[in-house]
């Protein structure tokens, strides 16, 4: 399995676990699929859980400065952020 698909699969699993979403639903997410502001499940407490779980499962550290609207707005933004973090680890 390549690093990219590993990050992709892990991130989808985290979204399922944190937001209680169905895996079949999360599998349909594409780059432009809206997250923050589009998924009612994703409030600030859920964002906190999501980021902490990304840190744990992808073995990265997420700083305050990293967190902005862009990375959380779409699936593509979140995946690109996670991949950049994994690449820089």
């Amino acid at each position: 399995m390549t690093e990219r698909s590993h990050t992709d699969a892990t991130l989808r699993a985290i979204l399922c676990d944190v937001l209680g979403l169905d895996i079949d639903h999360v599998e349909t997410f594409e780059a432009g699929t809206g997250l923050f502001g589009h998924l009612p499940e994703l409030d600030s407490m859920a964002v906190a859980g999501l980021l902490t779980e990304i840190e744990d499962r992808l073995d990265v550290i997420i700083d305050d400065e990293d967190v902005d609207g862009e990375m959380l707005e779409t699936w593509g933004g979140l995946l690109a952020f996670a991949e950049a973090k994994v690449a820089g680890r």
Binding site: A48, G49, T52, E53, D64
Partner: protein
């Protein structure tokens, strides 16, 4: 021993579901409220984590359980030398990190600038309100350092042992009957006289 704070809320229903299943197996259970949490009348901000530990010991002495199930941050409390289980134990720093982060994310949405480090500094000195819980400075400093004991008679359980996903991660409280079945079965089998 329940999980702590927000995780306790998310897991309350599931925890009670496990207790109901154990009751059907003839096993009585007690789910204590920690001082300052849930139905406790004590102000949380006057608590110290050391006092929580003493209260856990006092609860053990009072109810005299034969076994303990410590869930998530509940594993940070002293359970004496009783046998039992720890479900996905977590250190105090992680409990606080999630709650601090929820606050920084909410602040960002509201256009205020708060950082994890900045909040930690304030909390250690003056205490802090996180996700609606008002913690004193001493409590915060103690919880930050708290670790589940390395030497314990409790057996660690993870999601791999139970199936399903971590309900404490969910944005909303939920329940998982199959996961409750699995956990109750592990406990009931483990408590069977040899």
């Amino acid at each position: 021993m329940p999980a702590l704070f927000d995780e306790a809320n998310k897991l309350r229903r599931q925890t009670v579901e496990v207790l109901h299943r154990l009751d059907l197996s003839g096993i009585d259970g007690v789910l204590p409220d920690l001082p300052g949490c849930n139905d406790s009348l004590r102000p949380l901000e006057e608590q110290t984590f050391e006092h929580w530990r003493e209260c856990a010991v006092a609860a053990m002495a009072h109810f005299r359980p034969t076994h303990v199930l410590a869930i998530r941050g509940g594993a940070l409390l002293d359970t004496g030398n009783l046998p039992g289980w720890r479900l996905a134990p977590v250190n105090g720093r992680s409990v606080l990190r999630s709650m601090l982060r929820a606050r920084t994310v909410a602040a960002k949405e509201a256009g205020r600038k708060e950082t994890l480090e900045g909040l930690q500094g304030v909390a250690r000195k003056d205490g802090i309100e996180l996700a609606g819980w008002r913690m004193g400075a001493e409590f915060f400093r103690e919880l930050e350092q708290a670790q589940p004991p390395e030497v314990t008679r409790l057996t660690d359980l993870g999601l791999a042992d139970l199936g399903g996903s971590g309900l404490w991660l969910r944005a909303e409280p939920d329940e998982d009957p199959e996961q409750a079945d699995a956990l109750a079965a592990i406990i009931a089998i483990g408590m069977r006289p040899l």
